[in-house]
Symmetry: C2
Subunit: 245 residues, 2 copies
DNA sequence: GAGTGGTCTAGACCACATC
DNA sequence: ATGTGGTCTAGACCACTCG
């Protein structure tokens, strides 16, 4: 007879369990974006482990950009409302190297039935209603981005064009403050495409001009997809940057 | 009078200094890619610090993908010659989701004077000689990538077309085994461009067809740039993927 | 000065790979 | 059985922030 057995519940270190518990608190909005979480010592007593174990759990969450450590002050829940996080997911920059500052111009915001494509990516049931937002972003007066955005209406109920136009900052800060939805990470698929007449008129380029197609799915806590963006960039004077490690 | 002074040599923790020393050993090829470095205990006695301090230094180097930890075996210098690292920097994948496997076809390899563009990015003196390599990569029989590569000839002396054609694996494994040059990280700038007649004939697309332009600078230890790639991808059936955290 | 995160140590013990 | 990395602890002390 063989003694070999598949590990049923493979070894899980203490700090991983602590990490899960902190994650659960974040997901349950026990601590909100921008707020401080309890001190390491406090968490250590709460979970009945040593400070070092809590430290290791927090270290990993900080490495994943869910928490932010600030020496002497505390550990804070990451937020898109801080200045340096405003453009955390924006990879477009001018060829000149200067910092880009995009100006928003919302075109429409309407409720529709989710297409197959959108339903699949947002993990919605066929035909559930979603909000579709169209916008153009300009830089130095020139249109650079045309974007279609889809959001599950259940989570973003009541969102409308006026609210978007009033909001001064980036959208992820808007989601956070108005809909208690913090974006944790995103995945993008990039292609080169040719402008059709509609894109051409929005971005002021000729039909057939090459554009960068950027398809993004953004996730909140628990790997839950809650936003899709289908963007087209005019990359005549700017480019998409990426660092490979 | 004010007591305020700018910190001249701001506080540097011990583990950072250990990290620098390990880094120096890597750069000096004291341990080669794929080899094990000394055990934590051994390094602790060598540097006269505790094991925990060495651990923290190694942890950071592992997070930066310079070292790879393997429980029970040791800590190893990262290498592009391992199976799972072969395509560490390749972000192209078929729309179908299957794993891509590109086939190389080297067109030329010649020594030229560095252009301004290349000299600037490789930090070479004006007019120093570089190798230019042209290649096409095919997937499922179709040409997908056309790429121009520039290398400083001083570091890659003797590299020629025949050697490239004989080599079976990826180029970064080739650099490592033949020219003692390990790539640590890379930066890419991406645009959408229109195919000209030359690109069109290489990639079997019409003139004016949209292509993805990917400009890469790759770095070895010490942030030294040692390779430039100017690639154009046909993204009809594949896309560039990126994860944002 | 008090509170927070950051560093460093020493030691015990666990999980994994290898002989 | 031995050696390696991985976890966990307890305690001391340092660096930073703020009132």
């Amino acid at each position: 007879m063989s003694n070999i057995a598949l590990p049923v519940a493979s070894f899980s270190p203490l700090y991983q369990q602590i990490k899960s518990m902190i994650l659960a608190s974040l997901q349950a909005s026990e601590w909100l974006p921008g707020e401080a979480i309890p001190s390491e010592i406090e968490l250590a007593t709460r979970y009945a482990v040593s400070q070092g174990t809590v430290r290791k759990a927090i270290d990993e969450l900080a490495a994943e950009n869910l928490l932010v450590r600030r020496q002497g002050k505390g550990t804070f829940v990451a937020t898109h409302q801080e200045d340096d996080w405003q453009y955390r997911f924006l990879r477009l920059e001018p060829d000149s190297g200067e910092k880009i500052h995009l100006k928003n111009q919302f075109l429409s915001c309407k409720s529709i039935d989710a297409s197959d494509f959108v339903a699949r990516l947002l993990k919605l049931k066929q035909g559930e209603s979603v909000l579709q937002i169209d916008r153009i972003q300009t830089f130095a007066g020139k249109p650079v981005v045309f974007e279609e955005i889809w959001l599950p209406e259940s989570r973003f109920a009541g969102l409308n064009l006026e609210a978007l136009n009033i909001w001064p900052g980036p959208m992820y800060a808007f989601y956070e403050s108005q809909y208690a939805t913090h974006m944790v990470r995103a995945e993008e698929k990039i292609k080169a495409i040719a402008a059709d007449s509609i894109l051409g008129s929005h971005l002021h380029v000729a039909q057939g001009a090459p554009l960068l197609s950027v398809e993004r799915v953004a996730f909140t806590y628990g790997n839950k997809p809650v936003e899709i963006r289908y963007a087209r960039y005019d990359t005549i004077d700017q480019h998409y940057v990426n660092k490979l490690n």
